[in-house]
């Protein structure tokens, strides 16, 4: 990512700065909302992987290939200790 950006020069830096001021936060929150929905979905279908006592339905096996790429980040987000200060920014 950074190597490509370096080629852009001054104007791309200004463009990125304006994006950072105006829209970066919105993009992050949009991603956060999507991730929490997805992670909730994985939890109810694959929760047994984390020890949540869910009897895995037949369909979770069919969904498994689609979920595989997300499993590691999902586990980390679910098991990470969180408190109020995590949500502040």
């Amino acid at each position: 990512m950074s190597e490509e950006k370096k080629k852009g020069g001054f104007f791309s830096a200004v463009k990125e700065f304006v994006y950072g001021v105006a829209a970066h936060d919105s993009a992050r929150f949009a991603l956060k909302s999507r991730a929490s929905m997805e992670h909730l979905f994985i939890l109810i279908t694959m929760g047994d992987m984390l020890g949540v006592p869910i009897l895995p339905p037949y369909y979770s096996l069919r969904l498994l290939p689609y979920v595989v790429p997300q499993i590691s980040t999902w586990k980390r987000r679910m098991l990470k200790e969180k408190d109020l200060t995590d949500g502040l920014a």
């Binding site: 990512m1 950074s2 950006k5 791309s12 830096a13 990125e16 700065f17 304006v18 994006y19 950072g20 001021v21 105006a22 829209a23 970066h24 936060d25 919105s26 992050r28 929150f29 949009a30 991603l31 956060k32 909302s33 999507r34 991730a35 980040t73 980390r76 987000r77 200790e81 408190d83 109020l84 200060t85 995590d86 949500g87 502040l88 920014a89």
Partner: protein, 563 residues
């Protein structure tokens, strides 16, 4: 002194601070390593942990930390004279401000992207986290109160502001709808919604609130306080993309354009300071030490920045070398913003009496008059400029305030849901936050409220520096550059909060205040005292942790010497 000299002085301090002091700390003490994997890379989840270019983060950090505080602080603090305020802004940023912003990003980065709650648990003690969370809740409450007051006093003092604020809200809601629901092009959306917001500024200047609502309603603090908190209520309970964020999006263009052209205006007009350089040690809100050091909060050092740095930015930096420009560099830009405000307050009035009459009505009017004058230098009519300044002030305050109420809602559910599940309900948490904020706005004298907010903010900064010192000592690194600023801020803010709380509560006990002021004084005094007690406990826990780290380091050194 000429205002351009002040700006140049600021640039020189920023250059030396950033290029030499910050570079020295970054390369010699922290030893930033571009090859070390940052949490953003190690734990990349495409959401919170995401490697992001430093230019984007520069903008993100600037937007997150530049609220109303760096502007209002200097406008109030010039009551002691412009020279002490100027010295504190420059020295505070140089020795403390950037240190805190940069190091809180660094400490979070080197600890797997942990936020302050987790860091205080790990580096100080488990109890420290609980106290810190309670501290943060009341700190947020004071932000809501102080910023709410700015919104109310600005809408009362400047009759163009309500219409501009209404149009901005409409533009913001439309932006959210266009981007996320109708999936319209972002450039088209931006152009349309920013034009709507600008039209509101013009409309505000031709149709002021008293001509539409009548003088009674237009001057009613109740009306505007309710409007502000209803606004925040929506921001807290609606999905964030529907209200809070798109309004902030449209607002950021207004602020950015205003600041950009305002600074050009200063260079064109380059006025001299008309207010005295120094007025006296003690004024109505208190003595210069410690009160001035908390009145100017964000322009010199601010605890809010450390929260943004640690919970937000630290998880997105793709390279350790980027922490200096993003964490430290943005603080120097914030310092320039504070100098801009100082120049406005110090140069637009012919005499102290004129300034005194203006400050009695609140800082919003002074800022708007300044913006009007400097935008006038590039050809904007005065009435339109005032309208622009008033909406800038409201935007700077309300964009932070709405997020604060949202955080308070989350905090209520986090802290109190064990007591009763009812506190998990978002409406209950938001309602409590709005009512408490409203009580502060309606019953407290705004200058005391501002000092309390500043005190809490600076105390948060000293707690952040305490965490940084604990981390540096635990790693055996040189810690004096964070330790002494921490001690200075800790003592100053405790003194400021005690002084203000004492003044407030003495009036309550002696029966000098009645009615609304009685409620305001009691609430503000107690919140101030609570913050002091929480900070003292945290300080004591922190000192214990520091001693522990020191003895470990000594033992290690002794063992190494033996070997």
């Amino acid at each position: 002194m000429n205002s351009v000299v002040v700006l140049i002085l600021g640039l020189v301090v920023a250059f030396i601070g950033y290029r030499f002091y910050a570079k020295h700390i970054d390369s010699k003490i922290i030893k930033s390593d571009p090859k070390r994997a940052t949490p953003a890379k190690m734990y990349m989840d495409g959401v919170e942990f995401m490697p992001t270019s430093k230019n984007i983060l520069f903008g993100y950090q600037f937007k997150s930390i530049a609220g109303a505080a760096p502007i209002i602080g200097p406008i109030i603090a010039i009551q002691w004279g412009w020279l002490p305020a100027l010295i504190w802004i420059l020295a505070g940023t140089f020795f403390i401000g950037w240190v805190q912003d940069y190091s809180s990003a660094m400490v979070a980065m080197r600890n797997d992207g942990a936020s302050f709650g987790g860091l205080s648990h790990k580096l100080i003690s488990p109890r420290a986290r609980v106290i810190l969370l309670a501290f943060i809740y009341f700190y947020l409450l004071l932000i809501a109160g102080a910023f709410g007051n700015v919104v109310v006093s600005t809408t009362v003092a400047l009759k163009a502001a309500p219409m501009a604020w209404l149009f901005l809200t409409i533009g913001g809601i439309l932006a959210g709808q266009m981007i996320y629901r109708w999936r319209k092009d972002i450039i088209l959306t931006t152009v349309i919604t920013v034009i709507i917001a600008m039209a509101g500024i013009w409309f505000g200047s031709v149709a002021p609130s008293d001509s539409i609502l009548g003088a009674d309603l237009a001057n009613s603090r109740w009306l505007w306080a309710i409007a502000a908190f209803v606004f925040c209520y929506f921001a807290a309970v609606l999905p964030i993309w529907r209200f809070a964020l798109p309004i902030n999006y449209v607002a950021s263009y207004i602020v950015f354009l205003g600041l950009f052209f305002g600074i050009i205006g200063i260079f064109i007009l380059h006025p001299d300071f008309t207010l005295p350089a120094y007025t006296g040690f003690s004024i109505r809100i208190g003595p210069i030490w410690p009160i001035m050091f908390v009145t100017i909060a964000c322009g010199a050092i601010s605890g809010w920045h450390s929260i943004v740095s640690s919970s937000g930015t630290a998880r997105q930096l793709e390279n350790e070398l980027d922490a200096r420009p993003v964490g430290g560099g943005v603080m120097f830009i914030e310092m320039m913003l504070a100098l801009f405000a100082l120049i406005i307050a110090g140069t637009i009035y012919a005499s102290s009496a004129e300034y005194g009459a203006a400050i009695a009505k609140g800082p919003g009017g002074i800022f708007a008059a300044g913006v009007s004058k400097f935008l006038g230098a590039i050809g904007m009519p005065a009435a339109l400029g005032r309208s622009y300044g008033s909406v800038m002030m409201i935007v700077l305050a309300i964009t932070i305030m709405q997020l604060v109420i949202r955080f308070m809602r989350v905090a209520t559910s986090e802290l109190l849901s064990d007591i009763s599940p009812v506190f998990r309900n978002p409406h209950i948490g938001t309602f409590i936050a709005c009512v408490l904020g409203m009580v502060l706005v309606m019953t407290g004298w705004w200058q005391y409220l501002w000092v309390l907010f500043g005190g809490a903010n600076q105390l948060m900064a000293s707690l952040a520096l305490l965490l940084v010192t604990a981390w540096l000592m635990s790693e055996g690194r040189s810690a004096a550059w964070a330790f002494y600023p921490m001690i200075f801020m800790f003592i100053t803010t405790i003194a400021a909060l005690l002084y203000t709380s004492y003044n407030l509560l003495v009036k309550v006990i002696s029966g000098a205040v009645k009615g609304e002021a009685l409620i305001g004084n009691t609430l503000m005094g107690l919140v101030g005292l609570f913050l002091v007690v929480a900070a003292l406990i945290l300080g004591a826990e922190g000192m214990k942790a520091l001693k522990r780290y020191r003895s470990i380091t000594k033992n290690q050194a002794a063992a190494a010497a033996k070997a």
